[in-house]
């Protein structure tokens, strides 16, 4: 096999307990806390995945987030997690993982036939192949979709807990390597509020295996001491396992912290993910550089890895990834890794592109071939042999691991996310950050500064500068460094001969040949080439492959790297679990429901709940085994013949006070307010500036310059904001106080011919007779001993009194009213019944007949539009179109055959036009069974409807096919003169 083996005592987890896990049903043993990738490599699982398009075998290539294709599905008790990156999952006892999108398994995948058919699947194949016959496309699509792809979407909801939090600080340091640690020390010692985040469980991983000394001690010792100092400081927040995912304007940064990989233990509500929404003064970006592999033929085989990863598996996890290792290098640091592998017992060969370099590897017994490079790999299911090309020709070497390093790519994503431009540096063969972005500094390798001493100096300078700006005084000096490898050698790009099998994007199967093709076909911009070939569009976002891809495009175009440039960098830096982003925003928390002050009483009375906008309201109250319709009919008839009680506390209530209230009301309502006397109220119609009905309600005058305005339940907030907007931006000279009191007052209405009788039993302080308390009157006194405001207004069309008391006495009031109404067997009614009652009266409702397009004239309320004053919307009502007699007007609808039910959502058409296009002349807006009339009734919007009463039409619902012959009538079915509410 690979000869992968653990080195006793090596790595950071020496001594950690053994745990068992499984992959594709095969049971293995691993070490708690090591990455799943390590455990799979250690147990000889080479092929753990398949590539997106060609189903070629995929293994572990890197050691962290940069790994392109080592994706598995974790089967967890809370739900499957597809596309989990094996290098980032920490092993726990009982972990169960499986390969994805392969049949029957990733080891033996029959769908790898697509690799043989690869000429049919070049970049952009869906524009070229499988084009005909056109009728067969649905079949092609079905098959191709099944074969292509990675993990499967889980069928059940994920029950894992996630949370999020806000945080603040002076300075965020992204990246806990040497530069990040130093920047943190400087700022923390100066007293700044510092957050230091690293995506790994440990800080300082880049120094593992380094021979350098910092301030006289081994680099790892320096790092450990730094960490201990930082963890003891109260002004420092250390965030391991935390990815800085996105950096936005004005210091806003999103971080994603992983709290555990294992399932939650019984009875422990600990979250798995925590999303941080951070606001900081500055960010120091110390995210390091990502190793860039070399490109050669069959460089996607399991066993092909990066040099740094191979070194990390040894130094971090104590795992030698293979017994026979070839290292394709172009710098001295790779020789150091080679020597470490050799000392751990591996047989190592180095193929270095340079003429000469470090002797460290040779001294450890490594065969070093200068002016050489890797050309190809061979082997079934993983690397078994490596072809090396050198001065004396090509030869094959037996090896299970082919590790390469073609250079470094600064991880400048966080810098570029706010629009910073990456600039190509020829000398160092890398893209480096260009002009600085506000509030962010890049230091260390992500800034192109590969040398350790220089990186520490940059970090110190940046951190000191930030502290200086914030007023903290800095005492730290730049640490001294000796013995560090200098980054030597100019990393090169290979020009492989076998371009069809030289991979640039290992997850999406994008080869050099694909990039050649895109350029040949005329795609010039890197953004277009990316999308045409899918280069870098996988879940690894091209961390290992993009720069190699840009190089290939530059070569194909015959242009320099700088003119190709990079694609736009966008957050997040890595894929984020949707659960972490959603965190606590379940539907209940995202759209919280509002409850009235007597919510529990409604529940106890057996109501059926309705979500009415943001409010939970009783739809109706079911008694015994009543059907819905029986309950509603009973409630409606009770109001028509007797008396009912309804909770109307959701309506908006806004107090207005001040000397200019009347002026203000006159400007915002279509009708006039100057003649309204104290103790009386008036219905008002409010328009938008474009003449469309916006809101309506009754405003009561309580005193000299004290009014209470009523709005619709859904419009309370919008009306309030509209009024304050007018007063604060346009009419600053008006002295009007606007105070919302919707929540301060609970309101219940007694409605029905017996309403006054009930009221008389509980009212104190005012005369309830019709003469003393006429329709639209407002009185202040007590109801059942509770201070109250009583308004005689009616939505149902019956005699009705709206009783307002402070909300903390709502329960008391409701119970007292029910008690007082016992002789009449008064019962509560709900929103559904209210809807039938208002429909019978022909009252429009904002949001239904007033649908955001209708004007007062369309609603038949022309008499409410004053000609004597200016008001908001007046100019628009004078637009020629607003007076067009063919506009849609509100009309009433009844079925010609009264026993016929009206179809829901029906259009109004002439009966002989049932199949004609454009036949609709209007539609039914609200309909209901009327127990008062014993048939269906409806309100509709009909072209020119006000002149068409008496006409017969067909109500037709194309979806469902319902039909009924109907007659157009006045919308005011019940008591059109309003005598019942006035008496």
């Amino acid at each position: 096999m690979t000869g992968a083996r653990r080195v006793p005592g090596a790595g950071l987890l020496a001594g950690a307990p053994a745990v068992s896990f499984s992959f594709d049903g095969r049971r293995h043993t691993g070490v708690a806390g090591e990455s799943l990738a390590t455990a799979l490599l250690a147990n000889g699982e080479r092929t753990i995945a398949r590539s997106f398009k060609y189903h070629r075998p995929r293994g572990v290539m890197g050691v962290g987030n940069e790994d392109p294709a080592g994706l598995v599905t974790l089967a967890r008790p809370s739900g499957d997690e597809p596309n989990s990156r094996a290098t980032m999952v920490e092993l726990y006892d009982g972990l169960a993982a499986r390969g994805q999108n392969a049949w029957p398994s990733v080891r033996w995948d029959m769908t790898a036939v697509t690799d043989l058919l690869s000429p049919l699947f070049p970049a952009g194949f869906y524009y070229k192949t499988f084009m005909g016959p056109a009728a067969a496309w649905p079949l092609y699509e079905k098959v191709i979709r099944r074969i292509a792809g990675l993990g499967a979407v889980p069928a059940t909801p994920d029950t894992e807990l996630c949370t999020s939090t806000h945080a603040h600080g002076d300075l965020l340091i992204a990246g806990g390597g040497a530069a990040g640690l130093q920047a943190a020390l400087v700022a923390a010692r100066a007293g700044a509020r510092v957050l230091l985040a690293d995506e790994n469980p440990w800080f300082g991983l880049g120094l593992l295996g380094e021979d350098a000394r910092i301030d006289g001690e081994p680099a790892q010792t320096w790092a450990k001491a730094a960490l201990e100092e930082l963890s003891g400081l109260e002004n420092v927040t250390l965030l391991p396992r935390t990815t800085v995912a996105g950096r936005y304007e004005q210091g806003f940064v999103i971080l994603c912290e992983k709290l555990r990989d294992g399932p939650a233990l019984a009875g422990d509500p600990s979250p798995r993910w925590r999303l941080w929404k951070l606001r900081v003064g500055s960010t120091i970006i110390a995210t390091g550089a990502i190793e860039r592999p070399m490109v050669f033929a069959n460089n996607d085989r399991p066993g092909v890895m990066t040099v740094g990863a191979v070194g990390a598996y040894l130094n971090r996890y104590g795992l030698l990834v293979g017994e026979q290792v070839v290292i394709a290098a172009s710098d001295d640091d790779a020789h150091r890794v080679a020597s470490q592998l050799a000392r751990a017992g591996a047989e190592v060969t180095v193929a270095d592109t340079r003429d000469s370099g470090s002797g460290v590897a040779a001294a450890a017994g490594v065969e070093v071939l200068w002016r050489s490079r890797v050309a190809d790999t061979a082997g079934r299911g993983g690397v078994a042999g490596v072809q090396i090309e050198g001065p004396s020709g090509r030869r094959w070497i037996s090896a299970t691991i082919a590790a390469s390093r073609g250079g470094w790519s600064p991880a400048l994503h966080l810098y570029a996310q706010t629009g910073g431009k990456a600039v190509w540096d020829d000398a160092r063969a890398m893209f480096v950050p260009g002009a600085p972005e506000i509030g962010a500094v890049t230091v260390g390798p992500c800034n192109g500064t590969m040398d350790l001493a220089a990186a520490l100096a940059e970090a110190t300078a940046a951190s000191s500068a930030v502290c200086g700006e914030l007023g903290y005084s800095v005492t730290s000096a730049v640490p001294t460094v000796d013995g560090a490898d200098t980054a030597s050698g100019i990393p090169g790009f290979a020009t492989p001969a076998n371009r069809k099998r030289s991979f640039v994007d290992v997850q999406n199967d994008v080869t050099i040949a694909d990039l050649d093709l895109a350029v040949r076909e005329g795609y010039r911009s890197i953004e277009h080439v990316k999308r045409y070939t899918t280069l870098g569009m996988g879940t690894d976002q091209g961390k290992l492959g993009n720069i190699n891809g840009i190089r290939a495009i530059a070569e194909a175009r015959g242009e320099p790297m700088s003119s190709v440039g990079t694609t736009r960098f966008r957050p997040p830096y890595v894929p984020l679990p949707i659960g972490a982003v959603a965190a606590h925003m379940s539907p209940e928390h995202h759209h919280p429901m509002r409850r009235t002050a007597i919510h529990d009483l409604h529940a106890q009375a057996g109501c059926v709940w309705l979500k009415a906008g943001a409010w939970l309201r009783p739809q109706f109250y079911r008694r015994g085994t009543e059907t819905d319709l029986e309950a509603v009919n009973r409630e409606v008839l009770a109001v028509r013949n007797n008396v009912g009680l309804v909770d109307v506390s959701t309506l908006g209530k806004i107090e207005l006070a001040g000397p200019d209230v009347v002026t203000f009301l006159n400007r915002i309502y279509t009708n006039g307010w100057s003649t309204l006397k104290p103790g009386m109220g008036r219905y008002g119609l409010m328009l938008r500036e474009d003449g469309v009905v916006f809101d309506d309600g009754v405003t009561m005058r309580l005193g000299e310059s004290h009014y209470v305005m009523s709005t619709t339940s859904g419009g309370a907030g919008a009306v309030r904001e509209w009024m304050t907007r007018l007063l604060e931006t346009r009419w600053r000279d008006l002295n009007v106080a606007v105070v919302p009191v919707t929540e301060q007052w609970f309101a219940a209405a007694l409605a029905g011919p017996m309403a006054r009788d009930v009221l008389a039993r509980v009212a104190e302080g005012f005369d309830v007779s019709n003469e003393a308390f006429p329709f639209m009157g407002a009185r202040v006194g007590k109801i059942a001993g509770i201070p109250a405001r009583v308004f005689r207004i009616s939505f149902s069309g019956e005699m009705s009194y709206e009783i307002n008391v402070p909300s903390d006495r709502a329960v008391e009031l409701w119970k007292a009213l029910l008690e007082a109404g016992k002789p009449e067997a008064m019962a509560p009614y709900g929103v559904e019944s209210m809807g039938v009652l208002r429909l019978e009266k022909g009252h429009f409702v904002v949001g239904r007949e007033a649908d955001g397009r209708t004007t007062p004239y369309d609603l038949g309320l022309g008499r409410m539009v004053s000609s004597k004053k200016w008001f908001i919307g007046k100019e628009a009502l004078d637009f020629p179109e607003m007076k067009n007699p063919q506009r849609r007007h509100v009309v009433g609808i009844v079925p010609v055959d009264r026993k016929q039910r009206l179809p829901g959502s029906a259009h109004l058409i002439h009966a002989d036009q049932i199949d004609a296009v454009g036949a609709s002349q209007g539609w039914i807006v609200s309909s209901a069974w009327s127990p008062t009339f014993d048939h269906d009734i409806a309100l509709a919007l009909l072209d020119g409807g006000q002149a068409r009463h008496g006409e017969r039409m067909l109500a037709y619902a194309p979806i469902g096919g319902g039909k009924a012959d109907v007659e157009i009538v006045s919308p005011h079915f019940y008591d059109p003169d309003g005598g019942r509410q006035i008496g």
Binding site: E249, T729, P880
Partner: protein, 91 residues
């Protein structure tokens, strides 16, 4: 997530506010005390807006804080906020 400096409440994130549109647009005859406005003029006021690449004066309401209207001068390209003042002042 913009950071907006409310004159009453201090720096707050964008999610505490609601956007109210172009603040530089003045309603013709906005209190009805002047001469009546022609249809064309009023329709332009209702429906036509500039779309500047750069500085934009706009209204926001601090819905989750003081609930007051403010005027923000924001760069539509960089999102830099150049000035914030109480609405209606400094005209």
């Amino acid at each position: 997530m913009l950071l907006i400096s409310c004159p009453y409440c201090g720096e707050r994130p964008e999610e505490e506010f609601a956007f109210g549109g172009d603040a530089s647009v003045v309603p013709p005859n906005g209190a009805g005390e002047g001469a009546p406005v022609g249809t064309e003029t009023f329709a332009d006021y209702l429906y036509l807006r500039d779309n500047p690449k750069g500085r934009h004066r706009e209204h926001w309401i601090h819905r989750y804080g003081c609930q007051r209207w403010i005027e923000v001068e924001r760069d539509t390209v960089t999102h830099e906020i150049h000035a914030v003042r109480v609405a209606g002042e400094g005209k």
